[in-house]
């Protein structure tokens, strides 16, 4: 492997940071879910890079579990968004304060 492991870690860090910034700064709840996908993909790149580095295929297996969780998260998250949109007619998270006290 001519590309050092640290390059992959830096790329993954940049992606994860972008996702965190998206979650914190955006008001559109769909973009927030997209940012979560970004973070999950950053961890997946880490998993695969380490799997290649250690010559251990277990890292790639764990990417499958991440994929499963991502699919479940998307299904439930989008269902919640649709339910919220029915109730409030908006997807701006500033409007969703039912659970605040």
């Amino acid at each position: 492997m001519t590309v050092p492991l640290s390059y992959y870690l830096v790329l993954s860090g940049i992606m994860f940071l972008t996702g965190v910034i998206g979650v914190l700064l955006r008001r559109n709840i769909i973009i927030i879910l997209l940012s979560v996908e970004l973070m999950l993909n950053a961890t997946n790149i880490n998993f695969v890079a380490f799997s290649q580095y250690f010559h251990n295929v277990a890292g790639q297996v764990f990417v499958f579990f991440t994929l499963t969780v991502a699919a479940a998260e998307v299904a439930v998250g989008l269902a919640i968004i649709i339910a919220l949109y029915r109730a409030k007619s908006t997807i701006n998270i500033d409007e969703f304060q039912m659970l605040k006290w």
Partner: protein, 171 residues
């Protein structure tokens, strides 16, 4: 050569992930994410994870992203959403991460992990797909079953959440 591929994929992934967060229109954000998924799949190919690259395209680009696009177009929102006012929080988290990155870069080399113990199944020795299947259905069989349970629960949950007035009919 390998480095050139890596830098191409890395640049496109970084640029499109910034676009996902920065673009105003959710549809454009989703399409930027699509480009990112394809390039992540390309990165997997350079890492000799060919099966994972195929799965990445099929599941992420094929299923998850279509679901996002479906919901974005179903809700059909054209309003201009501005950025959230959480600058103190964002500054705190960002500063923490930057400090952590600096510390990790400063102590680079002192914590290099021991590489390449060839005790486990070698990647690409007997084909990437075969190696993954071998480990997935022997060592990680129980997590695999639990993952299927997660998918079942998510499916039922999505139906219950998105279905209109399911409680009234039952009550």
């Amino acid at each position: 050569m390998e480095q050139a591929f890596f830098f191409y994929f890395a640049f496109v992934i970084a640029a499109t992930s910034v676009l996902v967060v920065a673009l105003r229109n959710p549809i454009y954000s989703t399409l930027a994410l699509l480009v990112m998924f394809f390039h992540v799949a390309g990165l997997y190919v350079t890492l000799h994870a060919e099966f994972l690259a195929a799965v990445q395209i099929i599941v992420y680009a094929g299923a998850i992203l279509v679901l996002y696009l479906f919901v974005v177009m179903l809700l059909n929102l054209k309003q201009d959403v501005r950025y959230h006012r959480q600058w103190p929080m964002a500054a705190a988290v960002g500063a923490t991460l930057v400090i952590e990155a600096i510390i990790l870069t400063a102590m680079k080399g002192s914590t290099t992990p021991a590489a390449a113990t060839d005790t486990e199944t070698a990647i690409g020795g007997a084909g990437n797909t075969e190696a993954i299947g071998d480990v997935l259905y022997t060592t990680y069989l129980f997590p695999f079953e639990v993952a299927s349970l997660i998918l079942l629960v998510a499916m039922i949950g999505a139906i219950v959440l998105a279905k209109k007035d399911i409680g009234e009919r039952e009550a």
